[in-house]
Symmetry: D2
Subunit: 392 residues, 4 copies
C-alpha cells in the first residue's frame, strides 16, 4: 500500500503549463502530483493565457509571485537561470500546442508530463520520443484513470491465464455531455475540442478513446491490433469533419476481435469508461463509474465481484492501493498513482537506472505514441469510407 | 391488464410439432399458449421424433392417446378428417424443417406459429407469406421475450418523441454457454445448431440476434437499415463456417447508426439481451436479465428507472401487464403475451377482420421475413470479407 | 425441472371463492393453479360478492354457467350433489372471512387453499388444523413468492453448513404504495385492510410480513424465535390501531438475533421482500425484486452471484426450475410451484400416503398457524409498549 | 467547486499524534489535511509509540528531524518554544487516550482535530468543549465520509421539504471483517478496539455507528431522538462486554422512528454505511460503497438516480465538489473536504469571526459530544436488558 512515504530523496521541482482556474483539468494534475508532498513540489507555473489571472491563481496555490509566469517560454528561460529551477513540467493546454511545448521543454532539459492525445501525428510523437532519449528525459502521458489498482489486477489475471485465451475486447467511453452543441459555443474547454486546427484529426477518438485504448494495452500487453475499421459520425453537423461518435472494430494478432465505442452524444449516460475482456474460460468487466469493483465471470460458475484492497487480489493490485478495502477510491487516487510513477521514473532516469525504468508499468512516451497511432488508424479507416485498414 | 378472461369466443384447437420432453423449448410454447385456457387448447401433437416417447409425453400433458401422433404428416392428415380437428400448430423443430412443415400446414388449412429463425432464405419466407395470404392464414414467429410490456413502453416513448431523434441503436444478445464445444458434441439441442444443413446459414446470428433485431423493429418501426457490415468468427473452429460470435455495424435511413453483438462464447455472461436506444435528448436501456425495469437517461437530468405495471407508463405498456407493480414478470409471461396476440390475430383472420389485424403489433410473418433478411445481409457482408453491403 | 407433465393421475376439480374481476389477487391463484392443466381444472366458482359480475367473469374464464355460483355456501351445497363435484377450493376473500369459509369447506369434505394471513387467532388456526386432520384434508397457505427455487437453495446451503452458524436474520417487506391514505378511501382492495373487523389485529404485519416470515422459516427450519419486540406505527392516523409500519427485533433459540421491517409507507420503494441471512462464515442475500439471483458473500472472498437454473445449484433448487438459466422467472412461476405442491400434497393425502406428505416442503397448515402466531406475538409486544415478549 | 485555491491567508502549522506507519488511519488524516497544501502544512509529529519508527516515518514524509518527536508531551512543550510552532494537532490514537491528549493540547493553546469516538463519557466531552471555548480553540471530529457532497444534497432536500415529513430513518454500518476473532489477537489496530479499558464502553457502536449517526444529524438537523432501545451482542464471546453487533430502534421528537444496525460480524459484506430517509412523499438512499450516487424514490414516480457534480443538485452539494460529474470521488476526497472545513473554522476562530463559525456545517465539538451521547444511551439501554430509555 501507498502511504505517502517518499520514494525519491526529495520532491521534484514541478511546474504546470495551462490548467488554470477556469478549467477542470488542472486540478486533476495538481491533486495527482501534490498528493503526498513527497514526489513533487509546485514551484512555478504558466497557468493561464491571461497572465494576471494565472498569477493570481498561482499565488493562491502557494507559488511565489516571481515564479508565476505570463507564458511558458518565459518560464522556461527564467527557470533555466535558477539553481533551484524546475525539473519537470506538466502540459495541460489544448492538443494543438503539445508538440511545440514538449519540444521546447525537452530542449530546455525538462522532463515532460503531457495531456492526451499527445500530438497530432505519429511522426511528431516519435520525433519527441527520440528527442527525449537524446536529452535523457522522461515523457509521461496523463491517461488519468489508468492508475486504478484493479486494472493491474486485470493485467495480472490475463497474464496468469486466469481467463484463458483472450477472444474479445469490448471497450467504450461514451457519455452524453455534448448531445447538443451548446457547449461548443459557450465553453472555452469545449470550443477548441471541435476545431481541427487545435484538437487535431479527431474529437472523441482522441479526447476519450485514447484513455480506454491505453487501458486495453495495459491489460493486454501481449496483443497487438492487426487491422481495424472505424465508422465515425458528426451528429452535430458543425463538428464535421470531427466526430462526436465513433464505432471501431478490431482484429488482433492472436485471433481475438474487439470493438470500441467513443461518444459524447450518448445522451444521458453517466457511465464513462467500460471494459470487458472475454477469455475462453472467463470474462473480466470493469467500469470507471464503479471503479472499486471488478467483475469476474467464469463460465459455469457464480459471478464474482472482486473488491479493491482485498487480500485475495494479486500483489500488483495491492501495491498501488491507498485506503484499503471498504474505503472507496476515486479518480483523484488514480491520478496520484500515475503521477507517483512518473516521479519514480524521472528519478530512475536521473540516476541512469534504465533497468528499473524498463520494469515500470505506467503511461510512458510509448503509450503516448500508441494513442496517436490509434487515432491515426481510426481516422484513416473512417476517411476511407469506414473501411478495414491494416494497423500501422 | 390481462387477467385471463377470454378475447375469443372459444379457445383455438392447437397442436405442437416438436418441443417434446427432452428439450427446453417446448415448455415455453406450452406455458405461452395454455396460460389462461381461454386462447388455446392442446388437443393434438407430434412432439417427438421418437413416437413412443412423444405419445407418452403428450398423454402426460393431457392429450388423448389417439391424437398423440408419430409425426406431423400423420397428424395433419388425421386431424383433417375430424370435425373438431386442429386449427393452429406450433412448430418447435430444428430450423431446417420449418419451411416444409409450415408449407404443409398452410396447405392443410392450418394457422402456423413457428420458431425463429423462420426459414433459410428470404425467398422461402416470402413464398410462405404469399401462401398464407392465399390460404387466409396467420403466421406468427415466437420471438419470445418481445411480449414484455416495457418494450411497448419504449416503442411509445420513441413514437412520442420523448427521447428526441434516434441517433444510435445498440443491441446485444451475448452469452457464454458455448464457450467450449462440449455441448456441440453431447447435446441434441445444440448439435444441429452448428450444422449448416439444419441450422441454415448462421448460428448465433439466427439463433440469438433475430430476437433482439425484432425488438429493435418493434421499438423503432419508422427506421430501416440502409447498409450494414458484419464481422463474424468461429472461435470453436469446428463450428465454421457458422459463427459463434458476430459484430454488426448498421446505418439507418434516418442517419442513425447502430451496432449489434451476438455471441455464445461470451464466457461467464448471464446477461442475454441488451438494448440501448440513444436519442438526441435521452436514452432508453432495457435488458431481459432485469426485464421489469426500464432505464431512461435524460441528458442533464437524474437517471430514471421505470418499473413495469406503474400508472405513469403509457397505456400500451399497461394493457399487456399481468401482475402489476412490485410483482416481477418473467420470460413465461412474455410468451403468454405473444401467444395471446397470435390467438387474437388468428381469430380476426378467421372472422375476416383485416382492419383489426392491421392494427395489431406482434411478431407476424413480416417479422419472420425480416429476421431472415437480417441474417442474409449479415452473412453476405461477412462472406464478402466483413464489408459494407446495402441492406436488401 | 418442471415441464408440465402430470404428477397426479388427473387434475383436481378446483373452485375459487373470491378473487374475481376487480382485484389483482385472483389472477395469481389462477395462473398458479392452471399453469399446466395437469394439476387443477377450474370447474366452479363463487368469484364475487356481485353474483352477476361473478358469473360473467367465471364464464369468461371457461366455467359452465351452472357452476358459477352466487356465493360460496351455494357452491358447496350444490357441488356436493354432483359426482364430479369440486375437490378443492381456494379462498381469496378478505381475512375476516377465512375462518368460517375454511371451516365450512372442510366440513363439506373439501381441501382448502387459503390466502394469508390465515385467520385472526392462533386458537382458530389450531382448531382448523384439527378439523382438517379429522376430515383427512390438506390446508395450504398462499405465501406466493415462497415457491422460488432460490429459496430452496438458501435452505440447502444453511442446512449444509455453507454459511456456518446462523447469527443474524434480516427481513423486510416494505413498500410505499400506501404512503398516503388515498387508496384507503377509494380502493376496495385496500379499504378492508385497514379495518380491524375485517383485516384482523394487524395491517402490514399480516398482509406483508407473514410472507417474509414464512420464507425465513423455510430457509431456517431449525431455528425458533424465543422472544421478540415489535414497535408499530400508524403514520396515517386513521389506520390506528392498525399499523402501516412496524419494526421487529427477534432473539432465536440458537443465539441468533434478527430484525424485520414491514411497511406500506416506505415512500417510493419498489423493492418488496428482502432477506439477508448472516452466518459465521458467509451471508446470503435475496430479494424478490431480482428473484433470479442469490448473492453469497463469503467473508474474505469475492462476492458471488448465483443465478437460478445453473448446474452448480443444489438439486433441491433445480427441481422446481421451469425455464432454466438465462430465462428470468417471475412471481407467476413461484405461484405455479406452490400450487403444484398443494396438488401433490392433496393427492398424497387422498391416497393416504402420509410418509410422502411428511417429506414435503411447502406452505402447509403449520405455515398458516405460524404466520398467525407471528402476528399475535408482534401485536402483543407492540400493545405492551413495544416491550420484549416471550414468543409463544 | 473546490480547486485547491487558498481559503486562508497561509496554511496552518499542523502536527499529528498517532497515525504512524503501521496503521491505515493516519493516511486518511494526511491525505485530508495536505490535499491542496493551502490549508495545512505538516511541520511536526509524534506518530508512533516507537519513537525511532515514528521519526523515520515523519522524516520520510518530509518533516525535519528535530520536529519528529518521541511523544506528544514532548512535542507540545518543544513546539511551544518556537515562534513558528504548531497551531493545530490531529489525534489518531486509540480512544482511551483522546481525553487527556485533547485536554493537554487545548491547554497548550492548540486547536484539536480528533478521531471518533471522541471520549468515553458525555461529561468528559462537555468539559473539553468548555475548555475549548475558554481557550478560544476549535475541536473537530473526523467523521471521515461525512464530507461527501451528496450528504449535503440530502440535507438540503430534507430542509426544502422535497421528501415531505420525515417518517423513518434507516441507518447501518455493518461489515464482516471481524466475523472471526483472528484479528483480535493479531492486529494492533484491532486488539485495543475490543478492550474496554482502551476502546471505552462499546466496540462497533463507537467505532462504526458514530459515523453514520453523525451523518443522520447532518441530514436531519431538525430532529432529535426522544427515546431508543439497543440490543447488542458479542458473537465472539471474548469480546464481551463489548458488542460486535448491535440493533438500535429510535423514536424521534417529530414522530419519526428509526433503526440502526452496527456490526463487524456481518460476514462477507463489503458495504459499509447505508442510509435511507423515508419521507411522506419520497425516500433518499445513499451508501458510501457507491458514494457518487443518490437515489431519490418519489412515491408513484420513476426512481431517480442523482449523480454527484451535476448542475441539477443544490448549490450546497456542488460547492464541495472537487472533480465534477463523471469523475468518481472517493473516501479521500471526503476527508479533504472536512479537513478544509476544520481549517476554515480554525481560521475564523483565530480571527474571532464567530458569525462565520456559527454558519458552518461540519463535524465540530458538538458532533463529538453527540456521538458520545449516542453511545452512552445505547449502552445504557443494552445494559438494562435492551430496554427503551429516554435519550438524554
Amino acid at each position: 500500500m501507498l502511504n505517502g512515504e517518499r520514494k525519491l530523496n526529495r520532491p521534484l521541482r514541478w511546474a504546470m503549463i495551462g490548467g488554470g482556474r477556469l478549467g477542470q483539468v488542472g486540478y486533476k494534475h495538481r491533486t495527482g502530483a501534490l498528493r503526498d508532498n513527497t514526489a513533487y513540489q509546485l514551484v512555478a507555473n504558466a497557468f493561464d493565457i491571461d497572465p494576471a489571472r494565472g498569477k493570481d491563481f498561482g499565488m493562491n496555490l502557494g507559488v511565489v509571485e516571481s515564479r508565476c509566469y505570463p507564458d511558458y517560454k518565459t518560464m522556461i528561460s527564467e527557470e533555466a537561470k535558477r539553481t533551484d529551477g524546475i525539473e519537470v513540467v506538466s502540459i495541460a493546454t489544448p492538443n494543438g500546442t503539445h508538440y511545440q511545448i514538449t519540444k521546447d521543454c525537452l530542449n530546455a532539459g525538462l522532463h515532460v508530463i503531457c495531456e492526451k492525445p499527445f500530438v497530432f501525428t505519429v511522426e511528431q510523437a516519435i520525433e519527441l520520443k527520440e528527442l527525449a532519449i537524446a536529452k535523457g528525459k522522461v515523457i509521461g502521458i496523463t491517461y488519468g484513470f489508468s492508475g486504478h489498482p484493479l486494472l493491474l489486477q486485470m493485467r495480472q489475471m490475463v497474464a496468469n491465464g486466469d481467463i484463458g485465451d483472450v477472444r474479445m475486447v469490448d471497450l467504450s467511453y461514451a457519455h452524453g455531455f455534448n448531445a447538443t452543441d451548446s457547449a461548443d459555443k459557450t465553453s472555452d474547454a469545449q470550443k477548441w475540442r471541435v476545431d481541427p486546427k487545435i484538437a487535431g484529426p479527431s474529437f472523441v477518438l482522441g479526447d476519450l478513446s485514447t484513455h480506454t485504448y491505453y487501458m486495453s494495452e495495459l491489460i493486454l500487453p501481449h496483443m497487438k491490433i492487426k487491422k481495424l475499421l472505424c465508422d465515425r459520425q458528426s451528429f452535430i453537423p458543425s463538428r464535421a469533419p470531427l466526430e462526436d461518435n465513433a464505432y471501431v472494430l478490431m482484429h488482433y494478432d492472436n485471433g481475438a476481435v474487439g470493438r470500441l465505442w467513443a461518444s459524447s452524444v450518448n445522451a444521458g449516460s453517466m457511465d464513462s469508461q467500460w471494459i470487458r475482456i472475454v477469455g475462453s474460460k472467463a470474462s473480466l468487466v470493469w467500469t470507471d463509474n464503479y471503479p472499486n469493483e471488478l467483475r469476474v465471470e467464469v463460465q459455469g460458475e457464480p459471478i464474482q465481484t472482486l473488491s479493491h484492497g482485498m487480500p485475495y487480489l494479486y500483489p500488483e493490485a495491492l501495491s498501488d492501493e491507498r485506503f484499503g478495502a471498504l474505503h472507496t477510491e476515486g479518480l483523484g487516487d488514480s491520478w496520484a498513482n500515475i503521477y507517483l510513477k512518473f516521479a519514480v521514473a524521472i528519478d530512475a532516469k536521473n540516476r541512469g537506472d534504465e533497468a528499473a525504468l524498463a520494469k515500470m508499468v505506467y503511461p510512458d512516451i510509448d503509450a503516448g505514441i500508441e494513442g496517436v497511432r490509434w487515432i491515426a488508424n481510426c481516422v484513416k479507416s473512417a476517411d476511407a469510407g469506414s473501411a478495414w485498414v491494416d494497423f500501422e
